[in-house]
């Protein structure tokens, strides 16, 4: 029986619980970002908005990553049902330069860009679909021409 060990056990469990709660609160949450000065996702991936496309959802993934696959499912479905959204998935193993340019550490990370390449939002983890829809709605409803 180790008194010190018991104290450390309780402290470690408390710390881990706090960290876990923070991670769970952040995971999949849509954060609107002010895109001032951040690079243009269209240009980084060599794509241009076509037709009705208003928003690029750029997904950064790694090769062996279960949540990346789930994220691709969520975003693929969204883009399929919404002509204003383009979904592009890149593998950070192939394009570490893109991850560096956008300061992305974790996969999956999804970054939304408007038609002009301004960053709108970021999501770390599998995006919460309802939050993402709500965040994109103002862009997709179309601004006055």
């Amino acid at each position: 029986m180790s008194g010190t060990g018991l104290v450390v056990l309780i402290a470690a469990l408390a710390l881990a619980t706090a960290v876990g709660l923070v991670l769970r609160a952040r995971n999949g949450r849509v954060r609107t970002t002010t895109g001032a000065g951040s690079p243009d996702g269209w240009a980084l991936t060599g794509s241009t908005p076509e037709g009705a496309e208003q928003v690029l959802l750029l997904q950064l993934s790694s090769p062996v990553c279960t949540p990346c696959r789930q994220t691709a499912g969520v975003l693929g479905e969204l883009a399929a049902g919404e002509p204003g959204v383009r979904h592009v998935e890149i593998d950070v193993a192939d394009r570490p330069d893109v991850a560096r340019a956008l300061s992305v550490m974790r996969t999956p990370t999804t970054i939304g860009f408007d038609r002009t390449g301004r960053e709108l939002l970021r999501v770390s983890g599998v995006p919460r679909r309802a939050e993402l829809d709500a965040a994109l709605a103002p862009e997709l409803r179309g601004r006055p021409a």
Partner: protein, 153 residues
Amino acid sequence: MSAPDGSGAPARSADPPLDPRGVRFAAGLTTVVLALVLVSGSGWLAAAQALVFAAGAFAGMRFAPYGVLYRLAVAPRLGRPAEREEAAPVRFSQTVGFVFAAVGAIGYFSGLTVLGIVAAAFALVAAFLNAAFGFCLGCEMYGLLARARAARA
């Protein structure tokens, strides 16, 4: 054991994809064992947990003892998993766990009890995060390392 999950994805490594509930179950057992290590200060228990980690890390996830226990005793009572999880990051996390458990055992055996406690506590935090929140620290490290390797190549 590894019936095709219908995704049509080719197997990328020797380890078939894992049932995520089994991964959580194993992390829960690991948390309990590491808590007992901290409370008892037993180097032998830390060494036993290091061996458990070593089986999954070096022989393959099929041989991970807690995973075997899950497949034999728990999985038959549950339905089929809704999804499966890539094995490679989990296997890597077992390697990280092995290092911490082994260092912990060495600490306790050699009288460097503080080293034993610190190593066991780190491993416990990682196992608990996985068991309670489904967050796999070792898997995150795996992703970062895979990127670093790709960037250098």
